[in-house]
Symmetry: C2
DNA sequence: TTTCGTTGCAAGCACCTACTTGCGCCCCGC
DNA sequence: GCGGGGCGCAAGTAGGTGCTTGCAACGAAA
């Protein structure tokens, strides 16, 4: 791994831990194991480095949902588990971004944010569930999709912060989320 | 309002906007409309001021849930609306706290955090719904309570950040959250 | 072998930070 | 009227910040 990538990775790590102001060039360089001057020679300024480092963390992993629903509980559990795992991995980074939204709103591009695209795909899947008469209740699939993504988001962000609020067994909790959710859409579980 | 309270309020406001590092003593004093030296004379140090200012924001408003459920949809909608409004008011502050959790985990006392106590009260209410045979499905009321609080939390935190993910009408969305949720517990809506 | 681009090191710049000192003003109780 | 406590102002401390300069070492390409 070349010096540039080391710096980008270190910048993202330090940013997640300490925020923009706390991510000093000296600290980033130290974590990257390179000289501070090299940072400026490579990126010109702290701002340019941070912008590129944060942009790098944006690559979203899309979780597929089947075109033809077969087993909604299993399919949605897999979907939710994948998103939950991914958000939990990045929780420090996400929390820092959210905390600095007031100061740097530009780093949040609402159009393509990963949860938003996931919610869209999920909404389409829920629409298919209704078309196939698997989901029999009246519901707004957009609100429903936002709801499930919101539960996943809250779990990923809050489990380590408010420890006594979240049940011990993450996997069982996840399954229960999905079961309550699907029953709410009129899917028999 | 005396100088001390002005400083405490200004400190909380600036902290919510800029975080701990961004809340400089000069900026706080300027927002409070007092001299920076007065800040140190009153509180001794920035840390003491911030600690007291943040502690002040902790006073939680408990939202009552009826002992005898009558109209679950209305009761839970009122409950959810109150919590949503309160979280949304304080969203900047909450987001900043979450963003700085890695650096200052001590400000989060997981035992008495407002969402946790709300979730506990909600769980008890859901238990009553089941005892009265209003909620007929099998569900874990602890997980269910966490689920609804999570949806509220995600809406309060995310609506202004990921604008296209949340439907336009907050009140209608809220009602739909509650309806899907209650149906998921086996309550006929 | 020479050359040249990349890196490290030492030092330093101007600015901001939390925090201190000394002095003068002004209002409030006596 | 007057003494004292609370406040503001000017100035300054030591340390951290982003960023720059000058110079030497190294390794690969020529």
């Amino acid at each position: 791994m070349n010096v540039r990538d080391q710096l980008l990775e270190a910048a993202a790590r330090v940013y997640a831990e300490a925020g923009y102001r706390g991510a000093t060039t000296r600290r980033i360089a130290s974590v990257a194991g390179v000289n501070e001057i090299t940072l400026f020679r490579q990126f010109g300024s702290k701002d340019a480095l941070m912008r590129e480092a944060i942009e790098r963390c944006r690559q979203d992993a899309t979780v597929p949902l089947p075109q033809e629903p077969v087993d909604p509980v299993r399919e949605l559990t897999d979907f939710a588990r994948a998103h939950l795992a991914r958000m939990r991995e990045r929780r420090s980074f996400i929390r820092t971004c959210m905390g600095e939204f007031e100061e740097h709103p530009e780093i949040m591009e609402p159009e393509n944010s990963p949860p938003a695209v996931a919610a869209k795909a999920l909404g389409a899947y829920l629409g298919r569930l209704r078309e196939r008469r698997v989901a029999t209740a009246e519901f707004d699939e957009c609100v429903a999709a936002t709801m499930l993504m919101g539960v996943i988001f809250a779990d990923a962000m809050g489990r380590d912060i408010m420890r006594d609020m979240f049940p011990r067994d993450p996997e069982a909790t996840l399954l229960e989320y999905v079961r309550i959710f699907l029953r709410g859409l009129g899917v028999s579980v």
